[in-house]
Symmetry: C2
Subunit: 228 residues, 2 copies
Amino acid sequence: MPLAPAPTTLQLVQTNSLPALVYAEIEQLILRGELASGQHVNESELALRFGTSRGPIREALRALEESGLVRSEKHRGVFVREISVAEADEIYDIREALDQLIGCRVAERATPQQIRELKTAVAEMDEATSLKDVKRYHALNLKFHDMIVDFAGNARLTETYRLLTKELLLFRLRGLQDGGGFAVSNTEHKAVVKAIAARDSVLAGDLLRRHAAESRARMHKAAGRRDE
Amino acid sequence: MPLAPAPTTLQLVQTNSLPALVYAEIEQLILRGELASGQHVNESELALRFGTSRGPIREALRALEESGLVRSEKHRGVFVREISVAEADEIYDIREALDQLIGCRVAERATPQQIRELKTAVAEMDEATSLKDVKRYHALNLKFHDMIVDFAGNARLTETYRLLTKELLLFRLRGLQDGGGFAVSNTEHKAVVKAIAARDSVLAGDLLRRHAAESRARMHKAAGRRDE
DNA sequence: CAACTGAAAATTGTCAACAATCTGCAATCC
DNA sequence: GGATTGCAGATTGTTGACAATTTTCAGTTG
């Protein structure tokens, strides 16, 4: 994966139809928390905001519904989905299984260049940790997991994993994620990368699965404090 | 999960909007092979067929696109997706990981009643095998895997698994699936159910994963015969 | 004063028409 | 003759209008 071809605006408009653009836009709105969990999404409002009619908006919303970011009730409209602790737990169960697979495949297939990139990412997170820059650490953490699933070399796996991750992000927006221990998190990352560099696929898989399990435990800890 | 509440047509129309109904209808068309892989899907034609305007059709198609059953090119329309051997391979890699998780969870959580149902299903497949009724075996096999993922007690897992299975079905329609050995397949089923009944979650997981791997191998065998 | 009734307003569901683009084919040019 | 151009015809993309339903809220009633 060399740097992206930097698509021009022209190409963007020529290849992506309006619903596709709107889809991406609304997704960002949700993932950035500008549309809060449980909130009603008004079609006309969005149409006005994006300067289109309601048709393309509705098409985008159907796609978002299928992707699980939004739920729809007839004649009442669509609402940003709310993820309960139980649902997050279900997702984590799947994520653990996928993380094991990812760790395994990355250890088998990652190029030396990719391994270097992973090491760089971990080093950056270390930096953010020592600076206590939680915001930056969070962003880097997302990027790290994005990279690693990419390096597993299975496009369908990437897609599946990102779908689940997005829903989990929806949950994090409730402010429950991260029981504070993000220094611990990065030691886990380091161990994973080390196993990958050693081409130990079984260990890498186990470690990445365990990392997901730890992340789940941190969620529970945070959820236990202020949730059901 | 007791028997489904048997929704009346009235309730169906009142709760599900037209796009949702159309979505299910087109999905069946694709999964039954009436819309062939790679074939162009004509919006107006479908609108005529279902007696609606193109709006709801388009919304349904966007959802189908997100679910991966259909691909869309701007100003050229949507096409039923073609799954290459490489893509099927990617999906199987994920499916193996999920099957392991499923086997594990079912062994932990299945009720005695559910285990009885699994045994019944396997017996029925035995019957179909001895009668050499391939069609029936195929249907029962799908039902068996549907049941087992359901009994794992993780709704999100069910959803994810079915999404992947549907895409694989798309591939099977090319006539590549089933290298003939469906008698072998059922001995694998029996072993899985036995491990579940014994509450041996590790073994059940391993066996179900191996079953998926065997299924993948059978696909490769069939694909090797007449494909790239 | 709480509960109900019913009309107005807001919102979603569906449609039919129009604009933009692609496809196929015949006419034209070199 | 082969490539190019230009024109129907078909198909998709988008829009604005109208129908159906829900929500809101003032007025009424017990």
